[in-house]
Structure formats: structure tokens, C-alpha cells
């Protein structure tokens, strides 16, 4: 089959005729998602580390215990999310 273009030229039969990709791109998409999750994990880990340090510094500065320090919302969030802190 050939197609006529606007300029009255024809193009070769599109090679996509009958072409199929049956499989879904699980491997490629999975690798991308692995990187996204791994990156988030790293950011959460270091973010929680930084949050814990900030809270400790404020506690020392104020001469109170860490549990008495009023943490910022993002500090609380990071510490809550990170299983290692």
C-alpha cells in the first residue's frame, strides 16, 4: 500500500503495517522506578539525618531534651518516614 502526500508524491508503505510490540516495557519502566524510589530513599535518609541533627542542636542550645524541642513539620515528616532515624 502507498499513500499520496499533499504534494502529490507517494510514500513507501509504512513499515509499521503489521508491526506490533506485544510486551509492555516492564524492565525499562521498572529500572526507572527503581531509581526514583532509591533516590527518594537516599533523600529521606539524609534529610532525616539532617533533621535529627538540627533538633539535637536546638535542644543543646536551649538546654532541654530532644523530645521537648518543637520540630518543624518537614523535620517531623522526614523522621517519621525514615525507618533508620
Amino acid at each position: 500500500m502507498k499513500f499520496r502526500t499533499q504534494s502529490q508524491q507517494t510514500i513507501d508503505s509504512p513499515a509499521l503495517d503489521g508491526f506490533k510490540i506485544a510486551d509492555r516495557p516492564f524492565l525499562g519502566f521498572g529500572l526507572l522506578m527503581t531509581s526514583v524510589i532509591g533516590t527518594l530513599a537516599i533523600l529521606i535518609y539524609f534529610g532525616a539525618w539532617a533533621s535529627a541533627d538540627r533538633i539535637t542542636d536546638r535542644a543543646i542550645e536551649a538546654g532541654i531534651t530532644k523530645s521537648s524541642v518543637e520540630a518543624e513539620w518537614w523535620e517531623k515528616g522526614l523522621l517519621l518516614t525514615c525507618p533508620l532515624h
Binding site: K2, Q9, L16, L31
Partner: protein
């Protein structure tokens, strides 16, 4: 010169083309577009102090404008690539030029921090994507063969250009002040872009010329009309279904995190190890200059041999080379690192257009490349953030170096899982049949 051109033609197996091919004009235009488009991005560091002095804004809040611009550029890259495919690279770059002018003028007159976020972060961010994304696929369209050669030369100009413009900007900031400098660069940059775009053609077919590397048996590719649009959508649908499409975004992301950590962190790391600021800056300059060689060589090698293997060694070298910094504590160590690491680093991101060609043939690669630049842009943003974050916590850069290595080596592993680049993953883009007699015969099919 003519003899050299004829020798190259013979070497490349070309019948009729010389070095004086219009494809090189397109490559030169691409170089200038990058130089102008990326100049203000590269010179942001010079802008921080004048803004602090003039308005009293904190460096952190000014830096947010840069982060915003990087993220906006990354997020708008796939759209810019799509627009390049749909409306042509020239029209897309023209729109990007108008945004560039608005962004520059507004930034020069900014009085409040929110204005900086909109003018520099948002408008300039979108402008960058519209200038920088469509130009690479457009260059690719001008090379039927030997795309590695065209890409390599373009990549060299891309690394040298911003380095030159940064120096000019630094002098301008000192002599006329930041506001006037932005107005001057905005006006001159826009005039240059508008002028060179007069000579830009999206495809050889549009210019009534032949692509570089075309042979007698080749026919022109379909590049316009309704069939072009519908066929392109159909092809792009298949591109999305390949593992390579997603994995290449991932690989570009990982590679860019790997080197952004070093590009941002090498000067403070050097200073923390006792190097003077100028010496530390010299390390960054050295690796930038040395990387020019592999920016050129890598796409050429990728085109000639197996692109997957070439990319793998670039990522492997980038990942392992960075470990030299763990023991570096003298000026000599840092300069040895700069020379050795720059070789794989230069080849990290330059083979992507060639890989796209090997996987997807001559189909328009604007959207595909735009998605890959989304990964790269986010990687650069994250990589720029990591050294400071890690240093603030640990007081040393060791973890930043290890993370850089981990990201690059993860990229190398992801490359191993790519399909073989010797096998095209989708059928090749259709050609136009120009023979009228054959055309009328064919219409009866």
C-alpha cells in the same frame, strides 16, 4: 581544503558531499543557540552577589530561582521536544527566543524576589527548554549517516560556548552592573538568535537540499504534511512501548546525578582539602577542557562501533574515577583526578542522539530526546543539591563522593540491561517516493 574534503568524503564513502555541506551550518547554528541559551544559566553564580548587595535578599532565596529554573527546564523538555516535532524546531526556537527576551528584560528590571522567580525561574526556564531541546533532533535530521560526527562537533561547541560567554558576562557585570548586563545580553542575544534562525531549516527536505551522508539509493524522508503528523504519532506510540525509552531516561538521570555532584562539589571539596580557591577553580576548568575531547570522540565511536559498549565504559569510568577523590589531598592529586575523570565524564551524555538513531532509526526524535533531558535535568538538580546537603550533615564530602560513584555505576548496570544497539527496535521512518511515473503507477495500488 578541497583535497581534505575529498579525502574525507572518500573515507566516509560519500559520493557527492564535501565538508562545505549545509549540515555544518545547522551544527554551527545549534552551537550558537546553545551558547546564548545556556549563558545566563551558567553565569548564575555571578548574579548572586549583585542581587544580595542591591536588594539584601539571602543567597538561599536567590538560589531558589536557579533551582526553579532547572526544574522548569527539565519538566518542560518533553513538551519542547513534542512542539519541535509538531511545529518544527525553527518555530519552537523562535518562541523560545521571544521568551528569552521577555525573561531577560524582566529579570533586569526585577524589584521583588517573586519577580525573579517568575522571570528567571519560570519564563527563562521554559525558554531554555524551547531553545535547547528541539535543536538536537533537528541536527540529527540533517545527518542521514555519520550522525556521530555531527553530534560530536555540536557537543564541543556546546561545552566551549558557555565557558566563553560566562567570562563576557562576568566582565559586563563588573563594568555596567547586573541590570544593564542582563538588558545588553538579552538584546544582543535575541538579535543573534533571530538572525541565525533566518538560516535555520528544520530538515534538508524543507531546505531543498540533501542530508549529509545520503547515498544514491536513498530517498528523502517524509517530513511534512498530515501524513507526517499521523505517522509520527504512531511511531512515537511504539517508542513508548520499548524498554529502551524508559531506561534511557533513567540512565541519563543516573549519569547526571553522578557528575553534577562533582561539578558542584569539586571546588568546596578542594578548598576543604587545603587547595586555594583559584587552584580549586583550576581543577574544574581542567576537567571541563579535557572533557571536550571525549565530548567529540564518544558520539563518533558510538556511531562507528557499539553505542551501548561506549556508553557503558563512559559510565563505568565516571563511577570508578570519582573514587580517586577519596584519597586526594594534594593539588597534584586533584589535577590527576581532573584529567582522568574528565575522559569518561565527557562521554556520559553525548551519545544519546546516536543511540536514539540506532534504536529508532530516522523517526523524529524530539519527544524522545525531550524525555531524556527531563531525566538529565532532574539528575543535575539532585546532583547539585547532594554535596551541600551531605556536607552540612557529616562535615565531610566522603558520602557525596560515594553517592556520585553509586549513581554512575547504577547507570552502567542499567546500560548493560539495554537492548543491543545494533538492532533497531522499530521499523525505519518512511521515505518519500519522488519518481512521478512511479507515483502515478503506485496510486493505482
Amino acid at each position: 581544503m578541497r583535497n581534505a574534503a575529498l579525502w574525507l568524503d572518500k573515507k566516509l564513502g560519500l559520493n557527492q558531499h564535501t565538508i562545505a555541506h549545509y549540515a555544518w551550518v545547522i551544527v554551527a547554528i545549534a552551537g550558537v543557540v546553545q551558547m546564548v541559551g545556556a549563558a545566563i544559566r551558567m553565569a548564575f553564580g555571578v548574579l548572586v552577589d549583585p542581587l544580595v548587595e542591591t536588594f539584601g535578599w539571602s543567597p538561599g532565596s536567590i538560589g531558589l530561582a536557579y533551582a526553579l529554573m532547572s526544574i522548569v527546564t527539565a519538566l518542560s523538555s518533553p513538551i519542547a521536544g513534542y512542539l519541535g516535532n509538531r511545529f518544527g524546531a525553527r518555530n519552537t526556537m523562535l518562541a523560545g527566543t521571544i521568551l528569552f527576551f521577555i525573561g531577560m528584560m524582566w529579570t533586569s528590571q526585577t524589584q521583588a524576589i517573586w519577580e525573579l522567580y517568575i522571570s528567571y525561574g519560570l519564563i527563562f526556564g521554559i525558554s531554555q527548554a524551547m531553545l535547547l531541546v528541539p535543536v538536537v533532533p533537528a541536527v540529527a535530521a540533517w545527518f542521514r549517516r555519520h550522525l556521530g560526527l555531527g553530534t560530536g562537533i555540536m557537543m564541543v561547541s556546546w561545552s566551549l560556548g558557555p565557558a566563553l560567554v560566562v567570562q563576557i558576562l562576568a566582565v559586563l557585570f563588573d563594568t555596567v552592573g547586573w541590570s544593564q548586563a542582563f538588558m545588553l545580553v538579552g538584546t544582543i542575544g535575541t538579535a543573534i538568535l533571530l538572525f541565525i534562525l533566518l538560516f535555520f531549516r528544520n530538515t534538508p527536505e524543507e531546505a531543498g537540499r540533501q542530508a549529509y551522508g545520503i547515498k544514491a539509493a536513498d530517498k528523502p524522508l517524509i517530513t511534512s504534511g498530515n501524513i507526517f503528523i499521523s505517522t509520527q504519532q504512531e511511531f512515537q506510540g511504539y517508542v513508548y512501548k520499548t524498554n529502551a525509552f524508559w531506561n534511557l531516561i533513567n540512565i541519563h538521570f543516573l549519569g547526571c546525578v553522578g557528575h553534577a555532584v562533582i561539578l558542584v562539589g569539586i571546588i568546596p571539596l578542594g578548598i576543604s582539602k587545603g587547595l586555594g580557591p583559584l587552584t580549586a577553580a583550576g581543577v574544574l576548568t581542567t576537567l571541563s577542557v579535557v572533557s571536550v575531547t571525549t565530548r567529540f570522540v564518544t558520539p563518533v565511536l558510538a556511531d562507528k562501533f557499539n553505542a551501548k559498549t561506549v556508553m557503558f565504559f563512559s559510565f563505568l569510568g565516571q563511577g570508578l574515577g570519582v573514587l580517586l577523590l577519596l584519597t586526594a589531598d594534594s593539588t597534584l592529586d586533584f589535577y590527576i583526578f581532573a584529567i582522568l575523570w574528565a575522559i569518561p565524564y565527557g562521554g556520559e551524555g553525548t551519545a544519546f542522539p546516536v543511540v536514539n538513531r540506532q534504536y529508532y532509526g530516522h523517526s523524529p526524535m524530539g519527544a524522545t530526546y525531550g524525555w531524556q533531558l527531563l531525566g538529565a535535568g532532574l539528575g543535575m538538580a539532585l546532583g547539585g543539591l547532594l554535596p551541600g546537603l551531605v556536607f552540612d550533615i557529616t562535615g565531610v564530602y566522603t558520602w557525596a563522593i560515594i553517592l556520585s560513584a553509586v549513581f554512575s555505576l547504577a547507570g552502567a548496570v542499567a546500560i548493560l540491561l539495554l537492548e543491543n544497539t545494533k538492532r533497531q527496535l522499530i521499523p525505519d521512518w518512511p521515505e518519500i517516493e519522488t519518481n512521478k511515473a512511479e507515483s502515478s503507477h503506485a496510486s493505482g495500488d
